[in-house]
Symmetry: C2
Subunit: 230 residues, 2 copies
DNA sequence: AAGTGGTCTAGACCACTTC
DNA sequence: AAGTGGTCTAGACCACTTT
């Protein structure tokens, strides 16, 4: 059982790049050249090129050709929230935000925010604490039920197409504030901390989240390269 | 200036899924149906479907159709090593590994490893410390020059196609050992810690890396959704 | 003007799933 | 057998870059 032609062409071209036959900045042979060399149609060659493009090895430039890209820096895919983790909601409030939140969300002075505080428990012990802030606008009802169970993208899904949202995540270590330590029952110690900023496609800041993970939560897992499962 | 037809079809199908017109498990209209509905060729409809497939909204099943997938859990893309960070190599040794390394790499007893230790300095101050371990095999020369400057995937590139490698990354907080604290000049405090395990496509464990980041390194940055730039 | 990639057509045959 | 996606052909016209 043979591979498809476009896959064999892609493999051949990939090999040429990885072995140094074509280096960064080089223009690959054109679609026309290759379709003749492989005695196939341009569409088939094109499909091979698009695989390599999706792998980040080359980039198409109309009128020029396919340009070999510099080696990618490490790109990892981080997946979380997959497990059967269920958060327990501690409080939903409408409140005046802290200065940090005002800054990150670009709020006008005096504008209140909806705040959602949750805790994740495993085996009866709290292992993570979660705070979210969304600008409060008069006239938009707060559906508390939704807030209890929803993750960030879903919280905003009624107002924005999910795929038009972007989330920026910063991972650091930080000392949690006292109110968080009280819930997590941990001593004065730096915790793994996730800061999420949700943006619209236009760059409008829609929400801000802060999550503190105790060592019991376990590591964040990420992977690069071939998919882990299959 | 109008969008390409395949993009408009993709947008329309995407909208139907996001608005709930098609829910998880549904079979989308077939390529033939849609090519007639849009008065276009099957190839054009197909291209639209493949965009949605790359977005994870649907999955193709030969003989059945395109199936709507369950909403993705949060998937973030973590990029690092992009900046002009240059590591300084502290040492390259061939040594007997610590038990933890033996376990992670699945080494036989007494098998030595190549160890590479590096430090990242900014403005003259160390901000990160990096250890890598690769099983040492007699007869394979160690090209020290390569080790000094290379990142993990490149280190193994002569033996494995880069794209056949997979790296698993665990992010946690941990106390660095004393030899690391000495280099980083930091006190007894938990640091952001990255554990990397490099695997071949067959699951063979090829390398193990440990990286300690000081607060001065800054946060790890990740994003999901639309690309940050463009 | 010539060459490149970007889009698109109207077919064809195959492998797979369902009936 | 009928319908589905997977692969492939041999053209076409367009927008863009280079000469």
């Amino acid at each position: 059982m043979s591979q498809a032609l476009y896959q064999r062409i892609a493999a051949s071209l990939r090999q040429r790049i990885l072995s140094g036959g074509h280096v960064t900045g080089d223009v690959m042979p054109s679609e026309n050249e290759l379709s003749q060399a492989y005695h196939t149609s341009r569409v088939t060659v094109r499909k091979a090129f698009q695989i390599l493009e999706s792998e980040g090895l080359i980039k198409a430039r109309q009128g020029k050709g396919y340009i070999v890209q510099p080696p990618r820096s490490s790109v990892f895919t981080l997946v979380f929230g997959e497990e059967s983790d269920s958060y327990r909601c501690l409080a939903v409030d409408i409140q005046l935000p802290e200065p940090e939140t005002v800054r990150l969300l670009g709020l006008r002075e005096g504008q209140p925010v909806i705040s959602i505080r949750r805790v994740l428990e495993r085996d009866g012990s709290p292992v993570a604490y979660d705070e979210k802030y969304i600008p409060y606008e008069r006239g938009r009802p707060v559906v508390e039920q939704e807030l209890h169970f929803s993750e960030f993208p879903d919280l905003l899904a009624d107002r924005f197409a999910t795929l038009s949202l972007r989330t920026e995540l910063h991972i650091r270590t930080a000392f949690p504030p006292e109110r968080v330590r009280r819930v997590l029952g941990c001593r004065q110690e730096k915790l793994l901390t996730l800061e999420k900023l949700v943006l619209s496609a236009e760059g409008e800041r829609l929400g801000f989240g802060l999550e503190y993970l105790t060592p019991q939560y376990g590591p964040l897992k990420a992977s690069s390269g071939l998919p882990p499962i299959e």
